[in-house]
Amino acid sequence: MHKEKKESSSLAEFFQRWKSTFFYSFVLVSIYLWATAPPKTNYQNLRLDRLSSLPLLKVENLVDTDPFDSDCRWSNCWDIFNCTKLTVYAPPLQHFHDGGKKKVTPDISREFYSLYKWVAESEYYTNNAETACVRLPPIDFLSLSRVENIQKASAVLKNLPYWNGGKNWVIFSSHSVKDFELETGEALVATSTLTDFTVRHGFDIPISFYSHFLRPIVDLSEDFFEEERTYDLISLGPFESSIETGLRSISGLSQLKLNKCGSADSYCSITGESFEIPLSMKKAKFCLVSYSAKFGFQNKMLAAALGTGCYPIIVGKYSLQLPFQEKIDWNEFSTTFRPSDMHKIADFIQKFPKEDLIRARERGIWTFDKFFSSMGAVFEGFLGHLHDRLFPHKVHGVDFWNGPIRGVQSPLFLNRIAPDEGFTAVILAYDRVESLYRVIESVAKAPGLKKVLVIWNNQSKAPPLASTFPQISIPIRVIQTKKNVLSNRFYPYDEIETSCVLSIDDDIVMLTADEIQFGYQVWREYPDRLVGYPNRLHLWEEDKQNWKYESEWTNANSMILTGAAFYHKYFSHAYYHQTPAKIVNWVDEHMNCEDILMNFVIANQTAKAPLKVSPRKKFKCTECSQQVSISVDPGHMVERSECINFFVKEFGKMPLKAVEFRADPGKLYLL
């Protein structure tokens, strides 16, 4: 006691003594606060604390509302000038009352809270309401049945600062805003119950919200993917009569019919056994998800089915809009039936190929993780949708919405026969001038040749004078490179004006004009392949556990040497601009394997094998370009094998494909 008193007295003394210090400090702090405050002090920062005691704001006029505008479309209700960048404004959370002490806005749900929190912490958040692209009201409309007075809630919206008729505001709700008569003016509506009747086409966005119900699925950690499943089909009632009738028409399946029993989210079978939902959905291959006027859309069950790898069979009438249906390819991993066609379900399930089911499961789980597994995921999907509308020249693309594609889509996927615009011969030369001239002379006899491009890769010696080149009727251009690296031969030079490039070494003099012309013709028919003459093969050595480069005569072919090969100019771009620099540099430093790399680049993008054309005179050399010096050296082969193993490591896979055929002229006369 005594001690305390002493302390307090000394404290008073202290204050007395430091009075002036406090004063100056105060001034100093004031100056600091004034000086460091943001220039626009009227923007409130977002507070997410004190949820239990949110500020209660009285709204004076709770009569006027902005009626739901049925004519809203993207062009007239969304202000795109605010959206040069995708930003989201969310005002501080608060409640509103009409003077009668009673709140007119519902309590904040944990889902809405986590949505808000995600926004606040995201890179999209801005506290500047005026310039924000998207504005979120601080009111939890996720369930409209929790809103006691819809009319007053609508009026609260109209009273929000920066409301501006609802422009650029977004209302998230699991209920149809239109049907519940929430007056949202020009605000965009993202709901999980959009139908063809309620959607403002090209404006509103169908969505499905995360719910706490899905939590057990999100928490799943064990691998349940390949697990055998007990049931063919689970259904979770109650259903509207037409669906109930349809369900009775399904026979011959191992079915689990559950119905709601007792409290929310508990489901029982006919025998009264209770099942844990959603986790029990893991036990079925297919899950029936219904929608009907009476019971609405089981969108929660749709998400749960995806998350548990249970293939959704969606049953309902015509009008439902599935979440992000403009973007997500639902038909790839779910199937919709009309109630009157439900008798077909059994046959559909029985005939469903196992391979397809596994793939659909993969896609479903991916989709769940990406767009359903949390409010943040939902919101990111929503913003992705807006992004694609706002920036049509750089849309997210299929991968964003449907997952990285499993397979490969060739960059030249149209696969039509290429127009006959001729080819450009690109010759990598160093100092063998005489041989170079002979190559030019022989290539020039092929009618398809449009231009010769000599890549002079020798920095210490100037290329020969133009006047000394063979006199041919087509243009010859010489490009002096700055550095002697092998990749120079694949550079997409502007001088190459045809899509078809013939890469040829300065010592390939044995090809006849007929052979070259035929090679060009083969390329035209197979423009997304490397088409050429000497071929090689990759082999897996089981004992050494690595790849081997094979240059012997073989019955299969997976590589074409670029000493004499046609390819589409796009692959120059792919080699130079889409291949990690590490790999290209490696090739340039080792002064080897640029041809193998080109085979990798093309096969990696097309999943196709190269095409060998058989020349009449056989190539005597084993490694054409380095005939004398290198090929006799067994070390060379070892190095080439090392290249393959290095590329496989860097590409993360072995993209090369081997085939057993070669291209010959349709008629035998050439051979």
């Binding site: 404006f203 390819d329 919709t336 397979g407």
Partner: protein, 742 residues
């Protein structure tokens, strides 16, 4: 100041303390430079509420009860659910009925006739109204602009009232290309649609009834009626950018609807990077719209520049082609742009792009906001060359698949409606948006059943095949070649199943007469009930594998030839891979049979005979769903099924067949006079003249039905890698292919 000097330390301490408190209180969650601090604090989740929004009612949203069908609705409220009756569709399948033409229905425009004829060519067409799912009027609704004098049908409502089965439009589909009129073009049709569905060009989001209407492209009178036509061939060129970044050539509206964008385009013109050619020279009194001399001079200068450029070559040489709205939202130039493989930049706010219910236009076009027109140039430069290459190809593919003729447009329209009614048999988005597209997907079959998405989706092909031997020999004792053939098939490792399709009048030999299958392989004898030649290309349920080796009963093939053909087919499952080849050529001097079929040798071929060829089983499904007129031709002649199969496969894949290896016997038969048997022992029926004449007639009949010649010439055949190379026999995998004689 003295204070600060003396108690500086304390000052700073207090200062910092206040700063800290200040910050603490703010807990500002803004993306400013303090973000790092906040992220640390985020970890303690102190305040999460514990109620869930769907605790009470389980997240089930209530829909408004949809109005019952009996009540007459405003046609704007129509959707499939309340205005369409699917009872007949479910009962009889998807059938489309066209009312017979009557005088009181008025005349039909060329375009509407094309539509009706296209519908008649689909397998959905029925002449029986009682089984109709969709009904099509024979009253021309194509042009509902009263200013279009000839094409505009007057008193439409009156004519409708004469159709007793109109039933307020229920289950009717109305086609329209032009609606509304000067000056506001309000998209009105001038009659009450009732419950009818509308397939309409230039439809806006405001008028579009989601899931009920179909948005059509606008096409001109000269648009082909039939067939799949390909876009400009130089699609996949590199560099992908053209001489001009963007271009436009068209009318400039000085006033009225649509003029805002059209009258601003010239601001973007610089003559090279951006070529914007607009002319005021249209309509009757365009000069009067110019308020002053200056305007007239400007127009004159514009017109001169305008005439210097050719529209099509401008499309060809541009990377992006502007497709601004005209008076109406859509214009011909949309599909013209796709045809030239230029990337469309659509400047038509609120336009529902054609078939956007199924086509993902973002992959091939840029839908630019009209309000941001002047910023366009700088953003287009951001699009990467690789993306341009992709977009050009996507657009060209969409053009040929869904837009290149009235046939394709009509088929697509009907397919969209069919998929709404039978969603369980609908194609995924990725099928719609890749080659060969949803029109080549047989309902109820899965994309993994087809040969088309192997690389894209990493589907796997069966590593064995089924041999299907079509047996027509009439003398039982001559069963010897077929026995030898089966023995050779059993020697081929990759042959997993042999099916003998017995198409003879007399019964087949008893089971014990057939060579027994080795372990793990199966043999099956199928007897045809009805003898028709199209049966040999039927997708029998019993066929186990993806690849079907279709064989005539008198073919002789060495096991190595068979194995090599199958090994090659695995790389080209979307093509016919086989042995004897044929080709087609054009003799334009002949009016009756301009297209000729020949077995004479040339440098190229376009047909591989189905007497010895590997074909993906999926093509058998497609073959059976070909229009009945063509199948009838084949069965009536008992001939040409192989030509038709080649037509179909090349039409769908856009690729020629593949011929493997060369048999000496074929070489010796070159240059024989046509009707002679050129194929050695292949089917003796070919030795007669009539057979050959029929084949000529078939060619021309199919060309007429298809509207194009889908066959594609190729100069390439495939041989084993070491075929006839100077390598020891023992090192060759297929040494016998070198020397096979018979």
């Amino acid at each position: 100041m003295r204070c600060i000097k003396r108690y500086g330390l304390a000052c700073v301490a207090i200062f910092l303390l206040i700063l800290y408190i200040n910050h603490q209180a703010q807990y500002a969650l803004s993306n400013d430079e303090h973000g790092e601090n906040h992220r640390k604090r985020r970890s303690r989740d102190y305040n999460e509420p514990n109620i869930s929004y769907d605790d009470e009612e389980n997240g089930v949203g209530a829909f408004d009860e949809v109005e019952t069908v009996n009540r007459v609705l405003d046609s704007r409220q129509c959707r499939m659910e309340n205005c369409f009756n699917d009872a007949n569709c479910k009962k009889h399948g998807f059938k489309v009925y066209i009312y017979p033409r009557k005088e009181e229905y008025g005349t039909l425009s060329a375009n509407y006739l094309k539509i009706l004829n296209s519908i008649k060519r689909t397998p959905y067409y029925t002449e029986n109204i009682s089984e109709a799912c969709i009904k099509i009027l024979s009253v021309d609704s194509i042009d509902r602009d009263p200013l279009s004098k000839e094409r505009y049908v007057k008193n439409f409502a009156g004519r409708l009232s004469q159709i007793p089965t109109w039933n307020n439009g229920e289950n009717h589909l109305v086609f329209n290309l032009y609606s509304g009129t000067w000056p506001d073009y309000l998209e009105d049709l001038g009659f009450d649609l009732g419950h009818a569905m509308l397939a309409k060009a230039s439809i806006s989001y405001q008028k579009y009834r989601s899931g009920f209407d179909v948005s059509l492209p606008l096409w001109g009178e000269t648009h082909p009626a039939k067939g799949k036509h390909y876009a400009e061939s130089a699609i996949a060129k590199w560099p992908s950018f053209g001489a001009h970044l963007m271009s436009f050539k068209g009318k400039r509206y000085l006033n009225g609807i649509g003029s805002v964008t059209r009258n601003s385009l010239y601001h973007l013109h610089d003559g090279s990077r951006s070529v914007m050619l607009t002319t005021c020279r249209h309509g009757k009194d365009w000069e009067k719209l110019c308020p002053n001399r200056e305007c007239l001079d400007k127009c004159a200068a514009d017109n001169e520049e305008y005439d210097r450029w050719d529209y099509i070559s401008l499309l060809k040489n541009s990377t992006f082609c502007l497709v601004p709205r005209g008076r109406r939202l859509g214009s011909f130039r949309f599909i013209e742009t796709l045809q030239q493989a230029c990337v469309p930049v659509v400047l038509a706010d609120d336009w529902v792009l054609p078939f956007s219910e199924v086509i993902d236009w973002e992959r091939s076009t840029i839908n630019w906001d009209e309000k941001l027109l002047l910023e366009l140039g700088q953003h287009l430069e951001d699009v990467s060359p690789a993306n341009v290459l992709r977009m050009r190809q996507e657009g060209a593919n969409l053009y040929s698949t869904y837009f290149s003729s009235v046939d394709q447009i009509v088929k697509t329209t009907l397919e969209i409606i069919r998929q709404r009614i039978f969603p369980e048999a609908s194609a995924p988005q990725f099928v719609w948006n890749s080659t060969p597209g949803a029109l080549s997907l047989v309902p109820n079959l899965r994309p993994s059943n087809t040969p088309f998405y192997i690389e894209k989706k990493e589907h796997s092909l069966d590593t064995k095949f089924t041999a299907l031997i079509h047996t027509v020999q009439t003398v039982p004792s001559s069963a010897a070649p077929i026995i030898k053939l089966i023995k050779n098939l059993w020697k081929t490792e990759s042959c997993g199943q042999v099916i003998v399709l017995w198409a003879c009048e007399h019964p087949p030999p008893v089971d014990s007469r057939w060579p027994p299958p080795p372990k793990g392989k199966s043999f099956l004898l199928l007897r045809e009930d009805e003898l028709k030649v199209s049966n040999r290309l039927f997708p029998y349920d019993q066929i186990e594998y993806d690849a079907v080796l279709s064989l005539d009963n008198d073919v002789s093939l060495h096991p190595e030839e068979i194995a090599f053909a199958f090994s090659t087919w695995l790389s080209f499952p979307e093509r016919i891979v086989g042995f004897p080849s044929r080709r087609h050529y054009n003799r334009s001097s002949s009016k009756t049979t301009p297209w000729r079929y020949t077995s004479q040798w040339g440098n190229h071929y376009s047909i591989v005979l189905t007497g010895a060829a590997i074909i993906h089983k999926y093509y058998f499904h497609l073959f059976q769903s070909l229009p009945s007129t063509m199948l009838k031709k084949v069965n009536d002649y008992s001939n040409c099924e192989d030509i038709l199969m080649n037509f179909m496969v090349s039409d769908i894949s856009g690729q020629p067949p593949v011929k493997v290896t060369q048999k000496k016997q074929y070489m010796t038969k070159t240059d024989s006079t046509e009707p002679q048997p050129v194929v050695g022992k292949l089917a003796s029926r070919w030795e007669n003249n009539a057979h050959f004449t029929e084949r000529q007639q078939c060619m021309n009949f199919f060309v007429d039905e298809y509207g194009t010649v889908p066959l594609i010439d190729t100069e390439v055949r495939f041989d084993p890698l070491l075929f006839r190379d100077d390598v020891a026999r023992m090192r060759k995998k297929y040494p016998n292919v070198d020397t096979v004689e018979t």
